[in-house]
């Protein structure tokens, strides 16, 4: 079927839980397998029963592609592969492969240990799931099978995030995942070539936003940190090992230098090791600036930023500390938080989304009294701030990307239908492409017109050329021939050659029609009259009177015979081959009108 079918299982007008099913030229691909962060029950997973009611997922799906390590794009992967059951390949970039399991394990710990959930995937399941992963490089064409190929493009957004092109023959789909069109301090901007896919699937969560400039966010961040340390307070910044931490460190270092500040900045050692390790592995994934810095010095050899020792947390006076984990759910950041929470001079700046159930989530919701282990209640007097630096594409960014790839159609996921009417119009008018916005579970079918290459035999080609009229580049030319399909090969040959190749004999079809005329004359005279009539009427055709009395018009034979029952009537037998159908019918009709009276 020349069509592409897309069904969002999660995403598609629902933020959280990205999971999209694409059928292209008979191949089935699942894009992302995310977890909805807002639900605690089965609603957090995409509805996989859409894929196939019976039959195994492994048989139905040709592959699974994961765009990046955020849980709303990969959080349901172990559940999907180990608990629902999928053994096929899972494609993702190298950094995603390295970081995914860490986040999944972190999340698993929170769900099971903190919230006591049952029926959740286990650590072993995460490991087993990751064994099915095939890592890909940017711009590397990967053959999934001999028809399906995929290619990853740089997406910005987070380390290792990629946009994927899925191609079967001449049909292709590009899935953007989450991406960002403006570079920041440690990641470049998304980029794709003019690949002209049939369909571009892009997220539109932020399509209706106009983002505050990064410099203003940074300014705000610096202002908060500065004000806190100026009044003698301590600033805690819980971070994930990678990504924003580096960016914020660079920012603070620059600011400290400029303002000649002496207040100590620390980052926890666990953070250093992990971060350094990953950055060394994936240095090509960061942007130019970071790479330059890395070459000149070690990522964490800052003048003003030192390694943290847990004893420092009790030191008097102002300081800034970066500590993991990012959601304050365990470990060093939580330890430090507990020590500093009671003092209103202190501040904690949460740099990203926190999962429900974590301390980070609770304090961002405004909770000021927290129950810790052993029924201890912690009163939170320190200031709580949220500073999101995460980068998504806004309307301007989406238009830019669509302009780069030049797809035939665009499909928007992650947005609210009512709020997308304007963007849809904008895309359709400005970029002249159709725009689709399916809801969860709704299938969009896109007709495509794939070009099928057919080889033409030299003999046939020569024959056509001999008919004169040079072919014109833009005008379609009608050819007659026989199409032979063998294996995946298409050939156009002349009928004779086809018959020969296939060992078939040519059939001849001959039609005979009886025309009854009232005429008392003898057959021979009749034939003569027919001959004269046709000769004078059909001036363009070759009309002959044969010695045996029959008349021929081109290759059509007309014979006169007596009518078996009616002596006053005659029967004209008109006979022609299939090729002369038109003339044959014409003659018959003509003769039925009767012969002219002889003068």
């Amino acid at each position: 079927m020349p069509e592409i079918r897309v069904t969002p299982l999660g995403a598609g007008q629902d933020v959280g839980r990205s999971c999209i099913l694409v059928s292209i030229a008979g191949k089935n691909v699942m894009l992302d397998c995310g977890m909805h962060m807002g639900f605690n029950d089965d609603r957090r997973f995409p509805d996989f029963s859409y894929i196939t009611q019976n039959g195994r997922l492994t048989d139905f799906l040709d592959c699974v592609i994961i765009s990046h390590f955020h849980l709303d794009h990969c959080g349901a992967l172990p559940y999907f592969s180990e608990m629902v059951g999928y053994d096929g390949p899972i494609y993702m970039t190298h950094p995603t492969q390295a970081i995914c399991p860490i986040l999944l394990e972190d999340y698993r710990k929170i769900a099971v240990d903190k919230k006591g959930e049952a029926n959740f995937f286990t650590s072993q399941m995460i490991k087993d799931c990751m064994k099915k992963v095939v890592a890909v490089h940017l711009h590397q064409t990967v053959q999934v099978d001999d028809e399906l190929e995929i290619k990853a493009y740089y997406a910005g957004h987070v380390l290792g995030a990629a946009m994927f092109q899925i191609k079967v023959g001449s049909e292709s789909v590009v899935y953007t995942g989450d991406y960002n069109m403006t570079p920041d301090r440690h990641l470049g901007a998304a980029w794709i070539d003019k690949c002209r896919p049939n369909l571009l699937i892009t997220e539109s969560t932020y399509a209706t936003t106009i983002r505050d400039s990064k410099r203003c966010r940074e300014r705000d961040f610096l202002k908060k940190v500065h004000e806190t340390v100026e009044r003698g307070g301590k600033v805690l910044i819980p971070v994930f090992a990678l990504g924003r931490a580096q960016e914020l460190c660079i920012l603070l270092e620059t600011f400290w230098e400029r303002m000649n500040l002496k207040v100590p900045i620390y980052f926890s050692t666990g953070l250093t090791e992990k971060a350094n390790h990953y950055y060394k592995l994936f240095i090509t994934w960061t942007n130019q600036k970071i790479r330059k810095t890395f070459v000149q010095r070690n990522m964490f050899e800052f003048k003003h930023i030192k390694a943290f020792d847990r004893a420092f947390a009790d030191n008097p006076g102002p300081m800034v500390v970066f500590a993991t984990p990012g959601m304050l759910h365990a470990g060093q950041s939580l330890q430090i938080f507990r020590k500093w929470a009671g003092n209103e001079k202190n501040m904690v700046i949460m740099p990203g989304y926190c999962v429900q159930g974590t301390v980070g989530h609770k304090i961002l919701s405004g909770q000021r009294k927290l129950e810790m282990e052993g029924r201890q209640v912690l009163e939170v007097k320190m200031q709580v701030e949220y500073m999101s630096f995460s980068a998504h594409a806004d309307a301007k960014g989406i238009m830019q990307l669509v302009g780069q790839a030049e797809p035939e159609s665009v499909l928007l996921v992650h947005g609210e239908a009512k709020k997308m009417g304007f963007l849809r119009q904008k895309i359709e008018q400005e970029l002249r492409v159709s725009c689709y916005m399916p809801a969860n579970g709704e299938t969009v079918t896109l007709p495509t017109s794939p070009s099928i290459p057919v080889g033409i035999s030299l003999g046939l080609l020569k024959r056509e050329m001999a008919q004169g009229l040079l072919p014109e580049a833009k005008k379609p030319r009608l050819l007659h021939g026989t199409l032979i399909m063998k294996d995946s090969n298409f050939r156009l040959v002349s009928s004779e050659q086809a018959l020969k190749e296939l060992g078939l004999a040519e059939h001849q079809l001959r039609f005979t029609c009886r025309v009854h005329l009232q005429d008392t004359r003898k057959e021979q005279e009749m034939a003569l009259r027919v001959y004269s009539h046709l000769k004078s009427t059909l001036k363009d055709h070759c009309v002959q009177h044969l010695p045996d009395g029959s008349v021929t018009v081109e290759s059509i034979l007309i014979q006169a015979a007596a009518h078996s029952e009616d002596p006053g009537a005659k029967v004209l037998l008109v006979s022609w081959t299939y090729q002369d159908e038109e003339l044959g019918s014409f003659l018959t009709a003509l003769l039925k009108k009767g012969l002219p009276q002889t003068p």
Partner: protein, 376 residues
């Protein structure tokens, strides 16, 4: 490794304490010449390019700005596009009809008014009707102001074409009826029956629509060297004592006048601005709705200047702004092209020191300045 631009940004942002309470910068996809409030949480902007389709956008202010306490817990620092529409012509004036879902715009080419409807069940702004108001007037377009009680629009290119039109019936309910072809630069509705006008020549007037044309007005100031152009704004009734008219000239002159005696300005000062202004039509002067005797001036360059007029007196004195917003210059990413010009600015209706300003490089800033004077 740091670029020059980053250095100057850092230098500028060092003034964290003594400059801005808050500052947000946004990049629109196209520059706007209009900033029109809808309530106190939304603004309309519109494109003014002549050769392509322009967008009208209804933007919701970042929720962060509406919150007084605990700003830190509100991550939402972005504008949201709430509704959008398309216009095949440049939009140079846009007014929202209060308490309705209607907008009126005018622009180029042509001399027309266009009525728009903000649909309820989708996010599209639809053009409802377009009426031509007079023969093409070259490069001029009708100025607009709206009455609220009964939806009517005041429009005019020149004094002679000043009219009030009812938006439901499109009937003209008032005409100036004069033949004077002086070009208008501002129109402002003051209440259900009164409006003010300002001509490019500097001629100001207050008109009562219940009477045939008989405005309270001043004579045109003596024509100075060619190319001078004036604009003006009248204080809202409830905005405290003092002169209510402020008029601004492209040569940097700022006059304060009292409605009771438009012939004799209360004071006139010289603002420290770059003259001649590169685009006289961008000039704008506005009174602060939440502060006594403060006004803002823009259109000469990439800055917006805030002045306190309380102690102004006499004629011709040099004054200094209380605060100058230089964000559009410092954050300009165009790298070497002509410096951006502020195309328009507006005060937040409720937050006394918050302003919005937009520039020709498609930037949109929301900023809250700190009064540098010691509080008594």
């Amino acid at each position: 490794m740091r670029t020059e631009a980053q250095e100057s940004w850092l230098a500028w942002s060092q003034r964290l304490g003594g400059g801005y309470q808050d500052f947000h910068a946004f990049d629109l996809s196209a520059p706007t010449r209009v900033l029109e409030w809808i309530g106190d949480k939304g603004v309309f902007i519109a494109g003014y390019e002549s050769l392509k389709k322009n967008e009208i956008l209804h933007l919701m202010l970042p929720p962060r700005l509406s919150v007084k306490e605990n700003q830190g817990l509100f991550p939402e620092r972005d504008f949201k596009v709430s509704h959008g529409g398309f216009s095949d012509r440049a939009i140079l004036e846009l007014k929202h009809v209060p308490d309705t879902r209607l907008l009126v715009t005018s622009g180029l080419p042509g001399c027309y008014l266009r009525l728009w409807h903000i649909t309820e069940d989708s996010d599209v702004i639809k053009a409802v009707s377009t009426i031509s108001v007079q023969e093409k007037a070259g490069d001029l377009w009708p100025r607009l102001a709206v009455f609220s009680m009964v939806p009517r629009v005041l429009h005019g290119v020149q004094l002679s074409s000043l009219q009030v039109v009812d938006l439901e019936s499109w009937k003209t309910t008032y005409s100036s009826g004069v033949t004077d072809s002086e070009e208008l630069s501002n129109l402002q509705v003051l209440d259900g029956d009164t409006f003010a006008f300002c001509c490019t020549s500097g001629r100001l007037g207050l008109v009562d629509t219940r009477q045939p044309w008989a405005p309270l007005e001043n004579p045109s100031p003596s024509p100075g060297s060619g190319g001078q152009r004036w604009c003006a704004e009248v204080k809202d009734r409830g905005q405290g004592p003092g002169p209510c008219f402020s008029s601004l000239c492209t040569d940097g002159q700022l006059c304060l006048l009292d409605a009771r005696d438009l012939f004799h300005p209360v004071s006139s000062v010289q603002c420290p601005v770059t003259t001649p202004s590169p685009d006289p039509e961008l000039l704008r002067v506005t009174w602060a709705p939440g502060l006594d005797n403060c006004l803002a001036v823009s259109g000469f360059d990439g800055t917006v200047q805030v002045y306190d007029v309380t102690s102004w007196e006499g004629m011709g004195s040099q004054v200094k702004p209380l605060f100058t917003h230089r964000g559009h210059i410092f954050l300009d990413e165009s790298k070497g092209d002509t410096a951006p010009l502020v195309t328009t600015h507006t005060w937040h209706p409720c937050k006394p020191r918050t302003l919005l300003s937009s520039a020709s490089d498609a930037s949109l800033h929301v900023w809250d300045w700190v009064d540098p004077r010691p509080s008594c």
